[in-house]
């Protein structure tokens, strides 16, 4: 029951369009943590997240989520997923979007109101999503995933384009969720968010370069700045065999 890891990925390989976008990736995410998935745009972060929620066809490897195979029907109530592009209905209002997703996952009215307040959109329920800014739309998308308080939240770049104050509030909220036992995997391509995470997964070119805490990363690289530390991890991995390590 009290298994420490919420998520394990073993030797995951994914091919898209004839190219291997995830190359024998293995990682582990501990329960009740905020884990940052960092790496440049196009390194395979979104593909990895899609594999975790079970919508990505994989070539080989295992993805185990909360003790089940990724994509298992039991997980659909327990895992929340927010895609990078806001996946909400632009032609209906904020309130209607939330009411629809709440009906599917079985969240009540009070829960809807609290969730809208959490993402800072209280009082704007009657506004059409299509009339919102990009940042506001992604907050609606985030809100729909928070409705049923999932045990594992997979958030693909949830803070892109947000006001700095709201961004810091959201990170505070992520930690509040983690203290309550929720596990969060949050991707970002900006290193200044790395310091907000309990643990860091650094990705580049379909491979995992390191998994550690921010402190461990600073110590092992001798860099105080996390962006510099990431750079040094990349250099070290290239020196150790380039971006195409010998896999048998």
């Amino acid at each position: 029951m009290a298994e420490a890891s919420a998520l394990t990925v073993e030797n995951l390989r994914v091919r898209r369009g004839g190219r291997e976008v995830l190359r024998a990736l293995s990682l582990e995410v501990q329960r009740g943590t905020v884990t940052g998935l960092l790496g440049p745009s196009g390194c395979g972060k979104s593909t990895l997240m899609r594999a975790i929620v079970g919508v990505q066809i994989i070539a080989s490897g295992n993805v185990t989520v909360l003790g089940h195979r990724a994509g298992a029907a039991e997980l659909r109530r327990r895992v929340g997923y927010v895609t990078q592009a806001p996946s909400v209905y632009a032609d209906i209002t904020i309130g209607e979007n939330l009411r629809y997703f709440a009906a599917i996952v079985g969240a009540d009215r009070e829960r809807i109101e609290r969730t809208i307040a959490t993402v800072g959109l209280a009082g704007r329920e009657r506004q059409l999503v299509g009339s919102l800014s990009g940042g506001e739309r992604s907050r609606v998308s985030l809100a729909t995933a928070l409705l049923n308080q999932p045990e594992l939240l997979i958030l693909d770049e949830p803070t892109v384009g947000l006001d700095p104050l709201l961004r810091s509030e959201l990170w505070g909220f992520f930690h509040e969720l983690a203290r309550g036992g929720t596990t969060l995997l949050v991707s970002s391509h900006v290193m200044d968010e790395a310091g907000q995470c309990d643990r860091l997964l650094l990705m580049r070119d379909g491979e995992l370069l390191s998994q550690s805490t921010p402190e461990q990363l600073r110590e092992s690289t001798g860099e105080s700045d996390l962006a510099q530390a990431f750079l040094s991890v990349i250099r070290r991995s290239r020196a150790a065999g380039g971006s195409d390590p010998a896999q048998t």
Binding site: V53, V55, S87, T93, Y100, I104, T144
Partner: protein
């Protein structure tokens, strides 16, 4: 499958339509407008107007729902909302039935208006009752919806989806017997017409509006329409993939 998820989906589709009053107006006004146009076009030939206009009242919802569904479903696929729905506790049939209920209601409203104008104002007759034409119109709308749903899987853009209307629907409309009796067609065209769902939809409507007694042939046509609808829905369900490349 869950009743709550199905009705929630139907309600969400209706919300989407309600926020688009111009589409609602077009859905409700255009078929009636076309029927009025036919009325004046065949002013001196009431028989022709009766032969074409009466069944057409029940075919409009088929055409419109095919178009609306193929675009709506394509948007659902390209906007990422379908992918999100596939990660939630929602069965594929909840999506299909949700769309069916919403578009079925809309088709009923459309059929009510066009049948009222056609049969009560423009002097068309339905020998077996205008209500029967209305019911067939709803069944045909569901057939159009089911075909549109499957077709949407084969379009990547809205430009492509719109082209499916002349590519898939127009040939059926030409061969179904509405414009030229099928018995007068070349044999090979006649043979093709047997394979097209709209042929059976038209035959049922022609029987409902003509004075000859309804026999087993009517039941066979209705069953054929229902069969095509279920087959298209099944194909549509296959195209809703939980996992994609």
């Amino acid at each position: 499958m869950s009743a709550r998820a199905t009705t929630a989906t139907a309600q969400r589709v209706l919300w989407q339509i309600r926020h688009d009053p111009r589409t609602v107006a077009l859905l409700l006004v255009v078929p009636t407008g076309l029927l009025v146009l036919l009325y004046f076009l065949f002013e001196g030939q009431p028989h022709t107007f009766q032969r074409i206009g009466a069944p057409l009242c029940g075919l409009f919802p088929f055409i419109v729902m095919f178009l609306v569904t193929s675009i709506a479903m394509l948007r659902e696929r390209t906007s990422g909302t379908l992918e999100r729905l596939m990660t939630l506790p929602l069965a594929k049939v909840d999506i299909l039935f949700g769309y069916g209920i919403a578009f079925g209601l809309l088709a009923a409203l459309q059929a009510l208006i066009v049948c009222t104008v056609g049969f009560a104002i423009l002097g068309l007759h339905a020998a077996h009752g205008a209500w029967l034409v209305g019911l067939l119109a709803i069944a045909n709308a569901l057939l159009g919806m089911a075909l549109g749903l499957s077709a949407s899987a084969f379009a990547r853009t809205e430009f492509q989806a719109v082209q499916f209307m002349p590519a898939l629907i127009l040939p059926q409309l030409l061969l179904c017997g509405l414009f030229v009796a099928r018995s007068q067609m070349a044999d090979w065209l006649h043979a093709i017409s047997w394979l097209m769902p709209l042929t059976y939809a038209y035959e049922a409507l022609a029987r409902a509006t003509a004075p000859a007694p309804l026999g087993g042939a009517m039941a066979a046509d209705v069953l054929a329409v229902a069969g095509f609808t279920l087959a298209a829905l099944g194909l549509g369900a296959l195209t809703l993939r939980r996992r994609t490349a």
